[in-house]
Symmetry: D2
Subunit: 340 residues, 4 copies
């Protein structure tokens, strides 16, 4: 931690800050510069203690406090330099083979779900997605089928052999979702629902953690930390677009997040091109980009009949579009030394 | 709703869209322009039905779909043009008198809480705030005292007569918080925790709804709708800063939100200058700005000893700073024809 | 400057960085921490030299480089702690009296300009604004009257006694604009047109520098530095809204910028509520907020007949609206201990 | 254009808007809905006329005005559906072969420039870049060698046969840059320097137009329109990262821009991964992503000795890193059906 004093801060103010640093059990290395003084805080900061940044920043004469070490540990690359491979039944995520998670935004009915699952399987997807509990901006929109939707997902898994990824919204649904899901999905709106994260950390099923629309990558790794702290280290990080100033697309795909997260963390990184770009016609280009940038997986929305979808029809691929995209993705995977 | 076709869309594509519009029970008014065709969808869109925007957007030849009417109803100004006054014990929010909600970020211990409450009362605040359940970016930060914190809040209310505003994080805490709080606070991270909002909508206590850091104002009004739909119309909207590209401050205060929300909605509007700007030294200027812009209330963090605070010490006012600010605020309130 | 090494950086890498630091003439204070090493660069960094941040960041093993001292000097508060008062004829900006700059977006014709100027004067504005050279997003929009517009501005100054603020777009127009203007306005799109700034720095007329829509405050002060370096220290900083993710308003008013710039810099700070919020109906609230937050001046667009304006009609006040606003502003000015 | 009236707007207000629409020579199709009235403006809007959006928005009772047709024409895909191929000496940009533009950020001296050029050529780049006039945030940073830099670029072209792309900052430099450059580069800070764009529109050399850091894609196409209107249709659009809320990288690469611009416009699209991500270690991943997303070219910064670079050393590739990247890019190009 580095404490930068204001220009013109008095010697007494500098001394008071040094005293505060030492009273917390650190050493202070002071550089009384010509323009301003800077105090480096030496020693291992135990982040389980009180928020020292705020504490020091509220002292008189302090301009700002800069943290040097990262506030996450278990999710940090240095914790497991070789990288994590998440296992879902017989599928591995984070190894050389890239996985594709495909399925409809919402589980709507039996026919739709089974057709979508079959399209996913036929094109070579590794996992099946589908929402039974849906967080919708408007209370008047379709909110999902609930447990009935989970049952349809299980039936689709039976039919295709694909493990199931599905969203959990509420701690109260934990038992239900646990019973049917192979992977818990935490949606973007819940990335900072820390109580939910903590409960998932106490389970033994993998978690697909989607990035909040305005979460810094640093914050996302701390959200992963909430899960991992409970003992569940099977976490996947999913970029799904962030807020931006342009309205050309639904979100701004933060493609930079892929190499950055791969370097900062040992956890597998997934890209969801469907939410990232938000329009069917542009999904294939962004899916290929994610593959080329080094993602360990892609989560893609497909629907047997998008104009009739109860949610996200405008960004879902039809089965034949998905089949064509998978061909392209296979070629890109090979080009970057991976398989699909 | 207006459907804009792509340039070069065929007549068949236009006709197919018209057919889809009519099959949903609407009339279609078509303008086959020289550059592109535009189809206006006439009739009352029942927003409880399927997401028509997505549906029409996924049809061939469609460039984009623009919604004309707003997706919120109960929170809209037109629903209650005269404005809503929220009542918390004998305090009214949304009338001519502007209210100040003051207190520490976290309840830390009995002395701190009682001192902060006394400072709030002495300076003329109308409501007391304090967090017993704290959502923290890092799992290693102080997470609040829980029920013990709620009890201290109740004691502070006894001592000062000020009603209590406190955050609820988790539906599982509902009974506990209900027992002690006068107002439920929904934090920025939970603005889109729709399950939580729905449960608060079934209670009879007012809700202070904070804006998510990247929520559009339109989305915030839909979040309020989730609460109001359950029958609880005692909702206050709280601007607390949004994400931005500059790191000079903790957040970007969206001061525009105040007049916009006052026009779009009948609900009282509160500004939290402490989180909005994030540094003690700049809180007074932003508090005055909020008052001058027409806020119905201000939520301000104070602490008897900020350098020792367990959270947000860097943005909390000391009692004497708060006292001085309240003087300034009284003058600004008078200047804009209100009282404090 | 602080250089943070990657976790696992080797001793050789640390030594190489120390060598690089010393070869640039600095001392290096190294903290070989348990997690990672941190190197503080001691000595006065001469910012006219090569970009050391980039240089050190490209060395092997370096995680990141953090600058401690600010990259601006002449525009820094510490350069002139007592604050700068800009003088335009007999108007002072930056003193206790707050100034209002009013006028139409574009000079359109003689009648419009004289009516607007008279409305500005009658309501108590101190300076007159109007654009003769207009930067427009579309090449098909009205581009301004050019020199003929400047002549009308001069006539309006004659008629009202109000000094004239007008935009300069192009170094090639410098002589023309210099001849007619009392203050050069640099528009948001030109904040980083460094050649233009350098030329204005060689003149003896004040400059109103508008913030670029995505410029950090730190960058804005460096833009001011480009002007001041040439010897012209009569610079005013103007916040006019920044880009944001919400489309409720034209821009996001960064109200935080006012107290931050007042602390970081000695230059007067102006708020332009018209561009910041972009809709006539919300301009008064934002103007009052700027006044309450401590602005030294406000720049407000007015037009005798907004529906007929050739630019910015949707955000201009009619004369009677402006008159009413000035009354409100006078009350707010008094409330914060200033005059108008 | 669609004009949405406020809820509760009176019949007189609606009629007044209809009158205004018709007085501008359009037909008005009115839908007096139950909630609010909507007026569609029919007829071809001549965008060279006054800003109708603003005009109508300033009428009483109007809630907002939505534009339907795009404000650009010459840069629109529909103007040249088959796509534009830009020719620079014997290099074609926009055809099946993807091009790489490589070179140092700044021309620093003869050795550096010739070494960089040779590294570019050896690895298979098609064009050479290098800045002689540099726009720098700080006035104290290296500002480029000026004409001496242009001469070194020309010498490097002689030595390698690679055509030269270089930035023009100022209309006053036009003759000098024209004499040496094969392609004018307009930097991000100058995307809205419309005077400069107009002058380049009158020349006969291609222009590489970089996107402003907060420019919407729609605005970028209007900037291209400023050039094309003058007769110069040889324009390339270059994404180089936009502002965002996360500080993990220098900018946020807007990878979505590639498929969107390819659909909206016929102009070739280039990605600059170096500025987009801003750190050498992440440049290769983003370069591959751009290739996979469908870019027609990549602009990559290389330097024979990055730690000694006078600008952008932290994001430049060494010759051997560039060579390795080109191998990867060739594989990705083949995977998406193109050559490099």
């Amino acid at each position: 931690m580095v404490i930068v004093m204001q220009q013109g801060a008095s010697n007494q103010q500098v001394d008071a800050v040094i005293g505060a640093v030492e009273s917390e059990g650190f050493r202070a290395a002071v550089n009384r510069g010509e323009e301003r003084s800077v105090i480096a805080v030496l020693g291992v900061v135990d982040s389980q203690k009180v928020p020292l940044t705020d504490r020091f920043e509220s002292l008189d004469g302090v301009e700002r406090v800069t943290l040097i070490s990262e506030p996450y540990k278990l999710s940090s690359r240095s914790y497991r330099p070789e990288g994590t491979v998440v296992r879902v039944r017989d599928v591995e995520i984070g190894g050389n083979r890239v996985v594709v998670i495909a399925g409809p935004c919402s589980v709507e009915n039996r026919t739709q779900m089974l057709e979508a699952a079959e399209a996913a399987r036929a094109a070579g997807a590794s996992l099946l997605r589908g929402g039974a509990f849906k967080p919708r901006t408007s209370p008047y929109s379709f909110q999902g089928l609930g447990v009935a939707g989970l049952e349809l997902l299980a039936e689709a898994r039976e039919a295709t052999g694909l493990p199931v990824v599905t969203e959990i919204l509420d701690p109260l649904d934990l038992e239900d979702v646990y019973r049917f899901a192979d992977v818990f999905q935490v949606g973007a709106r819940n990335m900072s629902n820390f109580r939910l994260l903590e409960r998932l950390g106490e389970t033994d099923k993998p978690v697909l953690l989607k990035r909040g629309p305005s979460a810094k990558l640093r914050d996302m790794l701390q959200a992963a930390e909430y899960i991992m702290k409970g003992g569940n280290h099977q976490v996947m990080l999913c970029e799904r677009g962030v807020v931006g100033f342009d309205d050309a697309c639904r979100n701004t795909t933060d493609i930079n997040a892929i190499p950055v997260l791969k370097q900062w963390s040992h956890l597998p990184v997934i890209l969801d091109p469907s939410h990232s770009v938000g329009h069917t016609r542009w999904v294939p280009a962004i899916a290929r980009a994610g593959m080329a940038a080094g993602a360990d997986g892609l989560a893609i929305e497909i629907h047997p009949n998008p104009p009739k979808a109860l949610s996200d029809g405008g960004q879902s691929l039809r089965p034949e579009q998905f089949l064509a995209l998978m061909e392209q993705l296979r070629a890109v995977a090979r080009a970057v030394g991976r398989e699909l």
